[in-house]
């Protein structure tokens, strides 16, 4: 498959992930008053923090440039019809209804085609509450009741697969940092993206607390979670839990963003969690590789209980399959000669950019903060030659990312 075809294929992975969760997002939450962040106060450090978050949350996976701020089209939105997402049963069954096209927006600060005319607070509100920034007032939101506390009477949510239901769990300062980076750290690119489609209620009936859980998330531990042993730093575990929620691990591995949900991180428990990757996403007659998200609970037989903390760390940082990678610190010298990489459905290329302590916190949570669930998940399909060449073709960029500013960025 030529590389030019692979990029849209992988992008469509995110579509399929979203279809698994398209039932909705939460409109109900306890709104914490947001600290105002006047735009002139954006500091260099805040912009760098925002950049880091944009990279590790994979904004470029849909909005352009993958995890690589040097890449052409970094955050500039859809530049090819192949970047569109089909939302609805039509993604599986051509012609099925309903069928909506989502087109990732231009996130650069261009005035007329990007975020340039939107305030940082509007961007904050979009990430915290899922509200379309151009169609929500530039005001602090203090209520979750439509029509009260500046929460819109008719909320207009961003179209799936924008994963704001996970992003909303980031701390205020992180969301402000992302807004600061998008407004002040990226060069404007003029790229008008056609509007996304959607139902006339702007996804209100889809984004429900029943599906995505509450905001903030239920306190630790829920029935799916375990109190860590005394020898383990509970704060570290809870930090990992927060990261697992805000990075949306449950969107594929089970439970979405709700640790109290059935199947939380237990891997595939229902057919809708299995999704295809491969040329079939462009040509239905072409072959597919079926992705089956793993059981991330610490079950010894079917989950990550089989692997060491280091192997799990290496899986997220380097994309190495824990079952076939060494239990060793990975350096240039120890990186496997024929690396056996995780399937592209696992977004390790963005998660690898998380700080070491964040990855170790995730490992600690998965190991000690989640109850083991016995759920054997069939292996995902994979090409005979593995996935390595796919990642090369995708131009996922370097680790660590290139220094700020790249050609697509601007320093204040």
């Amino acid at each position: 498959m030529p590389s030019s075809e692979r990029a849209p294929l992988i992008r469509r992975i995110f579509l399929v992930l979203t279809l698994a969760v398209t039932a909705g997002v939460v409109a109900a939450f306890t709104a914490a008053p947001a600290d105002p962040s006047p735009e002139q106060q954006a500091s260099h450090e805040q912009i760098l923090r925002g950049r880091q978050l944009v990279i590790e949350h994979g904004c470029g996976g849909c909005h352009g440039g993958w995890d690589n701020p040097e890449a052409e089209g970094w955050l500039a939105g859809l530049t090819s019809p192949a970047q569109e997402f089909l939302i609805g049963p039509c993604a599986w069954e051509p012609g099925a209804e309903p069928c909506f096209r989502t087109r990732p927006r231009n996130l650069t600060p261009d005035n007329t085609t990007g975020m340039g005319r939107f305030s940082e607070r509007q961007i904050f509100n979009s990430l915290r509450y899922g509200l379309r920034p151009g169609e929500t007032a530039d005001v602090e939101i203090t209520s979750n009741v439509p029509g009260e506390g500046n929460f819109p009477m008719f909320p207009k949510y961003m179209a799936p697969p924008m994963p704001w239901n996970a992003w909303r769990h980031m701390p205020d300062e992180d969301l402000w940092a992302i807004a600061a980076y998008l407004k002040h750290g990226v060069k404007p690119v003029s790229n008008r993206v056609e509007d996304s489609e959607g139902p006339p209620d702007f996804w209100v009936s889809a984004y429900t607390e029943e599906v995505y859980g509450p905001y903030p998330a239920q306190p630790f531990p829920t029935d799916n979670e375990a109190i860590p042993p005394a020898s383990v730093d509970r704060e570290h575990v809870e930090r990992g839990r927060h990261l697992v929620i805000q990075h949306g691990c449950g969107d594929c591995h089970g439970g979405l963003t709700n640790p109290a949900a059935p199947g939380w991180l237990a891997g595939v428990t229902q057919p809708v969690q299995v999704f295809p990757v491969g040329p079939c996403l462009v040509d239905p007659a072409a072959p597919c590789f079926m992705m089956r998200p793993r059981n991330l609970t610490p079950d010894d037989e079917t989950g990550i209980g089989r692997y060491t903390d280091r192997q799990i760390f290496n899986a997220i940082r380097f994309g190495l399959r824990p079952s076939t990678s060494p239990d060793a610190e990975i350096t240039d010298d120890t990186y496997p000669e024929n690396a056996d990489l995780l399937a592209p459905g696992m977004v390790w290329t963005e998660k690898r950019h998380m700080a070491d302590e964040d990855l170790w916190a995730i490992v600690a949570y998965l190991r000690h903060g989640v109850k083991p669930v016995s759920n054997a998940v069939e292996d995902s399909d994979r090409p005979a030659e593995g996935w390595e060449s796919t990642y090369v073709d995708l131009n996922i960029g370097t680790y660590p990312p290139p220094p700020f500013p790249t050609v697509n960025e601007v320093a204040r």
């Binding site: 005035n111 007329t112 005319r117 151009g134 169609e135 007032a137 530039d138 008719f154």
Partner: protein, 337 residues
């Protein structure tokens, strides 16, 4: 005193905040014609056409949905459109014309949200005026888009055969966001019948090449430029606050306003109290200067106009003239002092 040069077709309606759409839906509107003593067009039959639409329940009362309903939400997004189209309060009236005759039609879009794309099959129209009166010259065209609150003056030339009948139609015009675009938006709608008499054709009138020369405002005089970013229900991210002044301009100055429509739906932008001249649309200069007080800003497009605040100190509103958007606060206050 009515200033010289302001002859044209105007209209009026109540403007209470949050209630305008309801009151216009109930029929509170009318036209006001200011005639010039030295009107440059030859004398001819003149017709006033006020276009309006509405929607009714089975019992004949006006259909205004429960504000919590999905229908109300769609009305908010699109603006409330009706499936019954009126011309001067009548459904499908007839205008008589004689073959060869030229008629001057003054057309007002009084609809809350419907934008009319007007055409008469087989008839080329002569577009001769807009909100601020007559143009410098006639513009031949097959169709004219009239957004909310806009007025146009059109010369209809009776090029049909004696005894024939044609229809003034509202052709499909996609001003909608995809989420709430009506399923039947591509349906042409009939507005009135143009009925030719059986009389022999008359000789057509001569229409002057130059109708009313209009002096363009000079960008070199501009002292201030402003940007109005339109989104769905907001101007510059804000909704109307009667206690707030959004913009302050100095009496006697000339300004350029850039109206950016950042969303996928047309927004007709209306400025109270002053007429302006559109400079360009998406950077493309307008062909000739003309006076307007409402300009449609199509989805994701940008319009720049030049305006001179040469009189009328005080507070003036500017807003989207989709009445449901205006109702919701897509409006601001300009103080000229």
């Amino acid at each position: 005193m009515i200033p010289p040069g302001t002859a044209g077709t105007y209209w009026y309606h109540p403007h209470p905040h949050h209630r305008t759409a309801y009151q216009v839906a109930k029929g509170l509107y009318g036209a006001l014609i200011v005639r010039a003593a030295d009107d440059p067009l030859p004398e001819m039959t003149e017709k006033l056409l006020i276009l309006w639409d509405n929607r009714f329940l089975e019992n004949g009362s006006i259909d205004i949905p429960d504000p919590r309903s999905l229908e109300a939400r769609i009305d908010f997004e699109n603006g409330r459109e009706g499936d019954v189209l009126f011309v001067n309060g009548q459904v499908m009236p007839t205008i008589d014309i004689r073959s060869g005759e030229v008629q001057r039609w003054r057309i007002v879009n009084a609809s809350a949200a419907r934008v009319y794309r007007l055409a008469i099959e087989g008839h080329e129209l002569l577009h001769v005026g807009s909100d601020g009166g007559l143009f410098g010259q006639a513009i031949p065209t097959d169709e004219i888009v009239v957004s909310n609150s806009e007025r146009v003056e059109v010369l209809v030339r009776g090029t049909g055969e004696p005894g024939s009948r044609v229809t003034l139609q509202d052709l499909p015009y996609d001003r909608y966001i995809p989420q709430t675009r009506p399923a039947d938006w591509e349906q042409p709608r009939d507005l009135l019948t143009l009925a030719y008499s059986d009389e022999e054709p008359v000789a057509p009138l001569d229409i002057p090449q130059v109708i009313r020369p209009i002096e363009p405002l000079d960008p070199a005089d501009v002292t201030t430029e402003r940007v109005m970013s339109l989104t769905q229900g907001f101007i510059n991210g804000k909704t109307m606050d009667l206690a707030r002044v959004d913009e302050v301009a100095s009496l006697g100055t000339t300004e350029i306003w850039t109206i950016e429509n950042l969303v996928g739906m047309d927004h007709p932008f209306h400025l109270h109290g002053f007429s302006f001249q559109v400079l360009d649309r998406n950077g493309v200069p307008d062909a000739f200067p003309k006076w307007e007080d409402t300009v449609n800003v199509p989805k994701h497009e940008t319009v720049r106009f030049i305006v001179r605040f040469d009189d009328y100190a005080g507070k003036w509103m500017f807003h989207c003239h989709i009445l449901d958007h205006e109702n919701a606060g897509m409006m601001g206050v300009l103080e000229v002092r």
